[in-house]
Amino acid sequence: MNAAATVLLDATACVIIFFCIVLVSLRRKSIQLLDSSFILLLLAMAFFSLSNLLEWTSISNALDPYEDFLLPFMWSFWFFALLKKIQLIELERAHDELQISENRTRALLENLPQKIFLKDIHSEYLTCNKNFASDVEMVPEEIAGKTDYDFYPAEMAEKYRKDDHRILESGEAEEIEEKYFMNHREIWVHTVKTPVTDENGRAIGILGIFWDITERKKAEESIIRQNATLSGILEILDQTLTTVNDESLGSACLSVIEKITESEFGFIGETDKQKGILGFTAIRGRVWEACLLPDKSGHSLRSGEKLVIRGLIKEALDNKTGFFTNDPPAHPFATGIPDGHPELKNFLGVPLISADQTIGMIGLANRPGGYSTQEIEAVQAIAPVIVKSLTSKRAEKALRDSEENLRAYFNNLAVGTAQIDIKGHFVKVNNRFCGITGYSREELCGGMSPLDLDLPEERDIDFERITRFFKGEAPYNVEKRYVRKDGKIVWVHVTVATVRDDNNHIVFTAAVIEDITERKHAEEALKNSEERLRLAQQIARMGFWDVDMSSGELTTSEELVWIYGHNGIFPKTLKEFFDIVHPDDIPKIERLREEAMKDHHPFEYDFRIRRPSGEIRWIYNKGSAEFDAKGHPIRVFGINIDITERKRAEEALLANEERLRTILNSLADAVIATDTSGVVKSINPAAERLTGWRNGQALGKPMVEVFVIVDSDSGETVPDPISRVFHTGTMIGLASNTKLISRDGRKFHIADSAAPIRDVRGEITGVVLVFRDVTEEYGIREALRESEERYRLFYENSPFALLAVKSNILCNPNPSALKLYGISAKELKNTPPWELSPERQPDGCSSRDKAIYYIKEALAGRPQYFEWVHQRRDGSQFDAEVALTRIYLKGEPQITATVIDITDRKKALESLKASLHEKETLLQEIYHRTKNNMMVISSFLELQAASVENEEVDRIIHDSVTRIRTMSLAHEMLYKGRSLSRINMREYITDLGQLLSTGSGISPEQVRLQFDIEEIELLIDIAIPCGLIINELLSNCFKYAFPDQRKGFVAIGLSKIGEKQVEMSVKDNGVGLPEGFDIMQTDTLGVQLVTQIARHQLHATISVSSKNGLCWNIAFREDLYSERV
């Protein structure tokens, strides 16, 4: 199957290849890239496929050896052939494109208006375009190999050759504008020569392009001429502006024309056609100098001279366009030249025309080379300008003259006038304007505006007014105030008008001001006067009325209407008048009016009216009448004054007086008022009581009579306080020790003050005296003063240093303090306590800290008492006892310090301590010696006992020794103990028990001692008896309570059983007492000693019990004896 498929595939491929061969053969011309190589490839492919087919069909393997390398070779060969074919095609295409490009370039060159050529480095032409070739009358193909010498004159050709060499050497392109003559015609060309280089940058030729610029050059020359003409015109215009008159201007114009036309000389003349003469406006040059009058008296041709119109001049004037001749003598109209006139080589004349009328001419002569149309055109162009300039200059002069006249008129106007530009600045002002405003013309026209003259507060209003004026809303015709330069105000009447151009645009504004200050002042004065009058009437509420009795016409002022409050309507008839008068007042009014009419005298009265609102008003009416010869009233007139307020004030015053009187009468203080002469005008009840004068009695009396005061200390009369008030004009007070003596002789200590009574103008109209009884207060004050005096004396004379401490600062020292510290009051000021102390106190604490602590504690209300080491300024120290106590002064807490120098006391104490110590030592020595002596005695006794054979004696001695030792032990404890008078009973009894136990010969195991003793210290006077009792009782126990080696215990106790009550007990559990034995009745020494000592020395109560042994209880007081040491 594989082989079959292979065969099928190969066969198909073979068929396809053969199809390709057929196709290529048929369409060979259509396939551009097909060539023999592709045919070979197809054949190779066919061979290959056929070989495979034959092989796989097993027909033949003959072709197999040739197939292997054939196909890759053929494919590669075809690819190579394709590559070469493509390169060839591209080369052909590039060649075609180059040819096209060359054709285009040539067409471009041929059609360019410029002339283009190409030379080699030897300046031989290589090629050129048609324009160039036609320029030298050749065809482009003939130009190759030619040089410039073949076309141009030798000098031109040489120049071109040098240009070529220079360009080749420099390697830079050059642009040249040059002219040459061709066929007797001037030709200007613009040439651009560029070196041509090969790819190595080496010059191989020159490319030249040139074109004809003759027309451009002519245009440029024309422009230059026109420019010169325009420059001339500008110069003439400039001269028009700068020259002062028409003669100078004419001379300047002539100069310009001569310069433009390069003429030697010339003139400008104006014709007088009626007279047929020409007057010279300007004439210059040699003509002026050489041409003299025949009589040599002066120049015949000068500015202002006249010349008869004829010859060439007439021709020029008649010819509207002007003319020129380069051969004047030969001209048919030539009439010759004046004597002395320079030779006329050529002449040019152009008329001056204004409004189609010839008004003059310009004459020029002797231009080198003669005149042409160009010169005449230039002069024709300038001539109208000259006409205009001369006309303007003359108009200007006329205007200037007119302006001068106007300015003189303007400056001398009686009213102030000003011209203001559209920006609002003064441009022009006249003298009167300066006079009114006080500013100079330079100041006003130097940037000031009318608003600058306004009052600052009126500027905004004026600006608004000006704005409305310019908008056409309102005219500007006002009376206002200006501020002059000197600050004065001036009233002016200002009228403003605008000057507009043809387009109705404002050119400037004209202002006319008139000084109306005097008129304004008069108006103001009149107005003020009227206003004052009106105000006076208004304030006084006064109005006038006037009745014409013949017509009955009533004339009233506005104020009258206001007074009557009838809304502008005043009663017109008497009836209407009485309708508003209070009914109670009508009879009075009628009566008074009739009396006045009858007696012909003025009348006045008060009456009431009722206003429409119901309000009652008081009116004061005063009037009079005028009578005719028959006595009939012809006019009655008068004034009405509204006196309601006055009436109310009077009522209020009365009420006020009543109220004041009530207050005065109610006052606890006495009040007396006098007039300026010191006469009593009023006195209140309190004053009546103190002075003893009743109100009716005192009024009208001199003050010194009613108010009698003396000095309470001296009894002398005190100066009158009323007089002092009048003298000083101020309020005064009396001395605190003033005593008032009443009319009935009673005396009161008083405190008083006197003050002036002033009226509304501040003038004194009297004196008011206010005083009160301070007798009781005086007594208290005296007591207080005495107390203060006592305290002061105590403070100053105290032997102790007294100071105050305020804010940790010492102050208010008494003399003892200053003496103690050895310091002055000034030095003590602002000194803290620790600065009068050593740095540290004996306990090592800082004096400052400790002092602050004590002060703080004292300020907290805890009084401090302590000892303090002080240090004076001289460094010496002393001990002091200090007490700090808080007090309040004016509500403020401060510390009072009391310092007592205890140096001496300290020394005495030290001495006492030393003495005591000495005595204690001595006492201890005594006790010690006593004990030693007792021990010696007991030793002697024991020695003695050793030599005694009698047991009884021996026992007695032994007991005595024991007792002595008991006392010795007490002394021993005294000198060894802390106290020399008291013995610690626990130690004493314990030691004593042990001593006795040891001395008894009984072992502790047999009889055990027990101690129940409280910590009690007793005086030796009690301790020794106690010791002796215990000695006796223990000795008895050891001897008798435990016979036959009986074991037991002995308990000794000492305890407090009540206040100052002590109980001592000795108990054993021995054999006890026999039945019925009363130990208190026994006569043994020991028992007797116990009972005797207990009763006589201790005043003790003794109780003995014999239950389970023997128990002794002895109770005694511990304060039987006082301490002696």
Partner: protein, 111 residues
Amino acid sequence: MPSVSSKGLAHLLFFNYKMVEIPEIITLVLGVAGLFFVGANRQQLRKVPFFELIFFSYKILVVSWLLTVLEGFILGDILNLLEHVGYLLCSSLLAVWCWKTAFNDKGQRKG
């Protein structure tokens, strides 16, 4: 589908091969060299109308030569079949190119 035993498949895959043919190797090397030549001058050869068609055809031919070599080692029958399929494709593409070139001038480069 006829069943094929694993032994038979292994024989088909790995043992049914012929010896290495030196001429086939040389042909392949020359073909690959041709590929390199075309690759090196591809920029210019791209100007040939429908060149990518030709180049693709040639690449198929080179692959066929590769398969010829490989069939001596592995999968002889299959690769052989594929080789001849490649020859057919190559011929077909070449025919297509001829047809397109002969009857369609859109691929012609305009001068």
